[in-house]
Amino acid sequence: MEPLSGPGARSSPTADETALDSVQFGEDIRHLISVPTENASSFTALLELPPNQAVELLHSPESTRPDSSQQQQYQPPQHFNAGLLTFPTNAALIERAAKFSVFAAEEDLNNNNNNGIGSPETNSAPSNSSAGLHKVVKTEPAEPVAYLNSSSVASDPTVATKDENQRTNNKRKEREKKGKGFSKKSKSAANENAEQLPYVHVRARRGQATDSHSLAERARREKINARMKLLQELVPGCNKISGTALVLDEIINHVQSLQRQVEVLSMKLAAVNPRIDFNLDNMLAAESGSLMDSNFPAVMMPIMWPEVQPNGSRQQYHQQQWNFDVVPQPAGGGWGREDGHNFITPENSLLSYVSSANSASLNSSQLKMEL
């Protein structure tokens, strides 16, 4: 450990460290397995290693024993400063990787995982085998991270290894988040599944009971709260009120007012709708007009008038009928425009009820004002 940490002082962080750092672990484990010498340092100690040291480890197995030699130290940086961050595709390394069944087995398992964890460090250039190496190497941080929670944090003095520690920290945080998030997800899954399944095994959220009764209660309450929220959004003015009873009062009032409005409108329609065929003729009138604009240009109003009248004797017959049954309205010169407006609405008929309702209500208010 000491010989390895010795040259660490001379490390110079480069931009290419990140990829190299990942190789360290692979190297380290390989060393542990194959070369149980003094250079098979502990994992934590290796984390302190600067990238040059890692490179040295990388290259040393090819040529000589992994002894720290000053010469080899300066060779590796040349490789990596020269452009792309590609690991030298060393047949020896690949062989070594292939030899150890650990990696081979892990490769299969971790290839799936590591596609997500990803390798921003691996550039496009590395070959498939070295990419596989990267992947393999990166899985190790994922696994041993759990064991090294505190130690890796503690043993990170240098800038060089900061990146890799950040990565490990990130991965650890990821896993923790996954764990916490999953417990929450499982809880919500349980809540929603409780609606469908009788027995749900879940991990409870922090500070909540896991009793089956309380679980069911909680599920039921959440269901009810969700529905209440929907209702609150629907009924105007319920958002500010807090408390179920008051909100329910508002909802009841709203429903009653809506029902009363329907009653009033139905009375009005009954008064206005004396004939069975009334609506058919209305539709006929609608078809006669070709004005589909929702803007109701005032100029077109008087033009529409004469078109309607000769549409059929039936219509005139009904017009006369209307005079009897409809509440008599005063006719005036100033009404021409509004009447035209109202007459346009049948032409729009069913197509734009909202806009016509708005304009019709506007017109009716105008009418009432003139009254």
Partner: protein
């Protein structure tokens, strides 16, 4: 996510099948929430209003009390029933209140035939006159009962709401809330459509009236 669910939670059932089905159900339940919200919003669409208004016009044109009984209240009630039925049809029978509205008429006729010679006939005709809502049957008894156990105020209000929404008198709370959501959205659409129709008809009446009077 799939791998973490399986691997990192030893408490859940270990069988992958149950996990998968749970996940599917969770997704369905989560989407069910959104579905209900969208359902309530469907009543606001233009197309829905068109569908309803066309059905309404058809129903109104078929209302047959106009020539026979000129009394305004009865005609109004008939119009209201027709409008409610048109609304229930527009709901496509997916909600309890719509089914209750549609079947209430049939139930009424059924009960009329059954209780011809019984004391209930009076009540039934009163119900029929009252618009077939069925609410007029035993209003006082239920109100007294509710006052008796008025301690859970929320419970009392929920029962009241359940009586307002057709067909939801005895349903549990979550069902009532769901039905009320749909019913309120539908009622709003009904009010919009009917007011537009009324304006339309009254407007054309005025127009025809003034045209007829002027010509």
């Amino acid at each position: 996510m799939a791998s973490t669910m399986i691997s990192s939670n030893p408490v859940t059932n270990s069988s992958a099948n149950s996990d998968r089905s749970k996940r599917k159900k969770k997704r369905k339940a989560a989407s069910a929430e959104q579905y209900r919200q969208e359902e309530a919003l469907k009543w606001r669409t233009e197309s829905q209003q068109q569908i309803y208004s066309s059905k309404l016009i058809q129903a109104l044109s078929q209302v047959q009390l106009n020539p026979s009984s000129p009394s305004a209240p009865r005609r109004g009630r008939a119009v209201r029933e027709a409008a409610d039925r048109a609304l229930a049809v527009s709901a496509r029978g997916r909600s309890r209140w719509s089914r209750a509205i549609l079947t209430s008429r049939i139930k009424l006729k059924f009960r009329k035939q059954q209780n011809k010679h019984q004391q209930r006939q009076r009540i039934v005709s009163a119900v029929a006159a009252a618009g077939g809502s069925g609410r007029a049957r035993k209003p006082r008894v239920s109100v007294l009962r509710l006052r008796g156990k008025s301690l859970p105020a929320v419970q009392r209000k929920v029962r009241l709401l359940g009586r307002l929404v057709p067909g939801c008198k005895k349903e549990p709370l979550p069902v009532i809330l769901e039905e009320a959501t749909d019913y309120i959205a539908a009622l709003e659409m009904q009010v919009r459509a009917m007011s537009a129709l009324a304006e339309l008809l009254s407007g054309s009446n005025q127009a025809a009236g003034s045209a007829g009077s002027s010509s």
